[in-house]
Symmetry: C2
């Protein structure tokens, strides 16, 4: 075992030890820690920004794209927004202890299904410092300890933020190892983390398919992938075309670097000629690079659309790039979505209720939208408070991973001596 | 790819194709299939028993223990009990389409969280023919296709039962490949099944730790382990000792071959001398082989108790064998249970409410009992209808896997053109 691997084993053990205390903590105590963290962010904004400036001027940061530098950059306003987010989580209901079901069994036993923390959660994430705070406060509130494995690009920023979190925990009398920041060791340390059976109760990798595939090969602990979003907007034959253009534009342009943005636009053949020229023009004017199939290029109205290659339909561009296809009908749209989508968020624009219902039923994804942008898939927008990511798998959590998704349950069954026949 | 591996790939593809139709089937249609299956079991009892007789007289069956032969054996009564079980599932509510949550978001969007089938479920199971029927009808009712991978010991019996199921599906106009029986190919075929990503939505291995460990190394599809139960009965210092004896006896003796039976008895040091002699005598008289620690042997009242070895505390005997230990106090009991238990079912016997609450909170298991036998962990007993197994993991399902545990959900979000700022 090299040093970094043993480090991560020690980090996990520390979190595991803290988890027992945290699981039994009262809502009041957990909220006191969150309040202290919010104050700590505001009170330490200079320290945090100084650490962030060091990360941004590190020579490694020179290789980052403009979008990635933006994600890594903190400002006083962004730190204040983090603090406001912490207060928001403080105001949410505590999921722990909720009695999900209660009944008396035929045997006379009193059964309660009670929500409990998972235990130790590990999150592997990209260079977005706000994720450090979002994940830490969601797990504290849900009674879980967390091991945070952030990007080395954000090492100093994450260190400053984790220090604020741990100070807040101490102030509330909770174990500081409820939140452990782990770094270094590369893929070996990641593999070590992913095999901490009996210690790590849930591993959540955020980020792309590369990380997902790397973990699939080695992970033996339970994993919930908060992975890629290859999302589609389908403009149906009975769509309000203006609405279709506005939704497609919003889904692609408003924040292209996030998982709920659209990567492919599907247009029904019956409205391709009426819809495409203006829609493509607006997208191109916003700087969107367009690739499309032959039928799209026949209806491009003069806007440049390069011929799409096979991989374009399966790619999450996370950038101002959009693949556009004409489809024969609703069935063809559903088939395309189910073949190429990643099960994240899919939208149909239509005035036809029946078509909307068929799309909603047949499309296999966490979120299906009718006449709305895919960009709404988000824990805040859904009224769940913050989120730790969006699950694209079907088990346990699907869509935004909020407080309740970070819990499990146990059956507590009380009797007066019952035995089974 | 050898023949059997390509067979299993074809089997999975057939189930996947049927799953789409089944997912959209009405409750009425699915219930019609279940009714036809119940009638088919009754009508084909002779054929089923003849097939079973062939399995039982096969030379391979000669190597089976008495308990395993009993599990494999069908009688007319047992087939009738299966048919009654099918009617029971027919009477349960259809989980598909249930609106789990509904709200209007701040954006004006109408959000519904709707329960939907998982898709294709695969179950790998031991030589228990009733499992073939239980799994098939639970997945049909929950709108899922299923690939059944039974034991080769029960090959002919399972074939006869699957034929009845597929006839019932055909009678209701549902695709017969909603239920596919797969056999042969050994560990290679199992590995093939466990890597059918995008086809198999959930793999449920029933059975012991060997199967679990074999799958952990290769599985890339989502897996829910319905694995071993290393269950404990803890007789607390404030226990009604008669109740403690009755519960321990029931949990060990009533059906030692199942996962919710007890494997270890923990006795508080304060009551060891008063409790153990009679309890051990009764267990020994029922044929239970006893192993224990030194303090147990000092209080055995003359009943033979061999010295337990380290592995005994971690072993699911699934037999008339019990490990017995004296523990210092409640904390020591909790620590023993959390260290050695498999997260299945754990019981405390006590008249002390506070001790009961601490045990219920601190023990990390699917089901925690106060003054009742662990044997109650069961889908029928819990009022969930039949079960496909008992999950010992924390994600998605914990405890009995019934109809709802075989579903996922999707968010269906309807708007009138909403885009995100």
């Amino acid at each position: 075992m090299d040093a970094t691997l043993s480090d991560i084993v020690a980090d996990c053990a520390a979190a595991k030890s803290a988890a027992t205390t945290l699981a039994a903590a009262s809502t009041e105590t957990k909220n006191r820690a969150l309040g202290a963290i919010a104050s700590g962010l505001t009170g330490n904004v200079d320290t945090i920004l100084a650490a962030n400036a060091e990360d941004l001027t590190d020579e490694r940061a020179r290789g980052l794209s403009e979008a990635l530098v933006d994600r890594l950059t903190l400002t006083a306003e962004r730190v204040e927004a983090m603090a406001a987010g912490v207060k928001e989580v403080e105001s949410l209901d505590d999921p722990v202890g909720e009695v999900m079901e209660a009944r008396t069994l035929d045997s006379g036993l009193d059964l309660k299904k009670v929500r409990v923390p998972l235990g130790v959660i590990a999150v592997v994430y990209e260079a977005r410092p706000n994720v450090t705070i979002d994940c830490a406060v969601l797990t504290i509130k849900s009674g879980n300890a967390i091991l945070l494995r952030g990007s080395s690009y954000a090492e100093r920023t994450n260190g400053a933020l984790a220090a604020v979190v741990r100070d807040g925990l101490a102030e509330a009398g909770l174990p500081v190892d409820s939140v452990v920041l782990s770094a270094g060791g590369g893929r070996d340390a990641l593999a070590g983390l992913a095999t901490q059976e009996g210690v790590v109760d849930l591993l959540i990798p955020r980020g792309g398919e590369g990380l997902k595939n790397a973990l699939k090969e080695v992970a033996t602990v339970p994993v919930m992938y908060a992975a890629s979003g290859n999302c589609h907007i389908y403009v149906h034959a009975d769509a309000d075309l203006e609405m279709g253009r506005a939704i497609a534009f919003n889904a692609k342009v408003s924040r292209p670097g996030v998982c709920n943005s659209a990567e492919t636009l599907l247009v029904d053949s019956q409205v391709a000629a009426a819809f495409l020229p203006l829609a493509l023009k607006q997208l191109a004017e916003a700087g969107v690079e367009l690739v499309g199939d032959d039928r799209v290029r026949e209806n491009d109205g003069g806007t440049e659309v390069r011929l799409a290659v096979h991989d374009d339909w399966d790619t999450e561009f996370l950038d101002l790039k959009l693949a556009v296809a004409v489809v024969d009908d609703l069935d063809a749209a559903v088939e395309h979505v189910n073949r190429h989508g990643s099960g994240h968020s899919e939208a149909i624009v239509t005035g036809n209720t029946q078509a909307a219902d068929i799309f909603a039923e047949k499309v296999d994804a966490a979120a299906v939208y009718v006449n709305a942008s895919t960009r709404f898939t988000d824990g805040f927008e859904y009224g769940m408070g913050a989120e730790i990511g969006n699950s694209t798998q079907k088990l346990h959590a699907r869509g935004p991973i909020g407080l309740r998704e970070l819990t499990t349950f146990k059956y507590v069954v009380r009797g007066d001596g019952q035995v089974r026949d």
